[in-house]
C-alpha cells in the first residue's frame, strides 16, 4: 500500500506488478487522462501542483480506508504533478482482490476520495490563451485578466 506524487510519466506496467498476490483473482485499475475539453472549453495542457507531504499522507490514509472497507489484497496509487499534455496519465489507481466486486468498488472508492481530498490543484490552459484554476472561483484571478 503506497501512494506517490511523481514528476515523471506514470509507469502503469511496473505499478500493476506491485499488486500481485497468488490469491488475487481480480485487478481493477483506473487512469485519469488529460482530456482536450472541459466544460465546453478547448484545453491545450494542464499544470498540477501538490503539497507533497500532505498529499502522500492523505493518499495513504485513503488507501488504508479502502483496504479496511473492501475485501482487497493490495492497493496502490500515484498522482503526477507538473506540466501535462493531452492524453498524459495524471493519476493511476490499482487494486487487487480475490473477487471482482470488491476490486471495482475499492478502486472507485479510492479515486472518488482522492479527487475530493488530495491537496492537489489543477490549472487548465485553453486554446484561446487564458487559463483557470479548476474548482476555484477564478473571477478575480490575475491570469483571467
Amino acid at each position: 500500500m503506497t501512494f506517490e506524487i511523481i514528476e515523471k510519466p506514470i509507469d502503469v506496467t511496473e505499478l500493476i506488478q506491485t499488486l500481485r498476490d497468488d490469491s488475487a483473482g481480480a485487478c481493477a485499475s483506473f487512469e485519469g487522462w488529460v482530456r482536450n475539453t472541459n466544460e465546453g472549453q478547448d484545453v491545450t495542457s494542464l499544470e498540477y501542483e501538490a503539497h507533497g507531504p500532505l498529499a502522500v499522507s492523505e493518499g495513504e490514509a485513503i488507501l488504508a480506508e479502502a483496504l479496511e472497507r473492501f475485501e482487497l489484497l493490495a492497493a496502490m496509487s500515484c498522482h503526477r504533478v507538473g506540466h501535462l499534455e493531452i492524453g498524459d496519465c495524471a493519476v493511476w489507481v490499482g487494486v487487487s482482490a480475490p473477487h471482482r466486486g470488491a476490486a471495482f468498488e475499492g478502486c472507485r472508492y479510492i479515486i472518488d476520495q482522492l479527487k475530493q481530498r488530495l491537496p492537489i490543484w489543477k490549472k487548465e490552459y485553453y486554446r484561446d490563451g487564458h487559463s483557470d484554476w479548476i474548482n476555484c472561483v477564478t473571477g478575480k484571478t490575475l491570469d483571467d485578466a
Binding site: G32, Y48, E49, H51, P53, L54, E58, H79, A90, V91, I111, L114, K115, Q116, R117, L118, P119, I120, W121, K122, K123, W133, I134, N135, C136, V137, T138, G139, K140, T141, L142, D143
Partner: protein
C-alpha cells in the same frame, strides 16, 4: 499579537503574488486567520471549500494558533 508564516498554494499564491508571507495577527484560530487573509487578498472562494494546515497537519477552523506557526492556505482541490 502573534507572528506566523503564511504559505499560499495554487490560485491563492497567484492572487497574493508570492508563496510566503510573514504576518503579525490578532487572529486566535485558523478560521479567524483565514477570514482576515481572505479579505486582505480578495480570495473569492468560500471558506467551506478551502482548507488550512498548521505545521504540515490539516487543521480544523477552531484550531488555535501559536506564535511561530507555519500556516498553509489551500484553495479548493482538484486532483485527478
Amino acid at each position: 499579537m502573534i507572528g506566523v508564516t503564511a504559505r499560499y498554494f495554487a490560485v491563492f499564491r497567484e492572487q497574493v503574488g508570492q508563496d510566503t508571507e510573514t504576518l503579525s495577527t490578532d487572529a486566535a484560530t485558523a478560521g479567524e486567520l483565514f477570514a482576515e487573509i481572505a479579505t486582505r487578498h480578495g480570495f473569492a472562494d468560500s471558506m467551506a471549500r478551502c482548507k488550512i494546515a498548521i505545521n504540515d497537519e490539516l487543521a480544523g477552523w477552531e484550531e488555535e494558533l501559536t506564535d511561530g506557526d507555519v500556516i498553509l492556505f489551500f484553495p479548493p482541490v482538484a486532483g485527478g
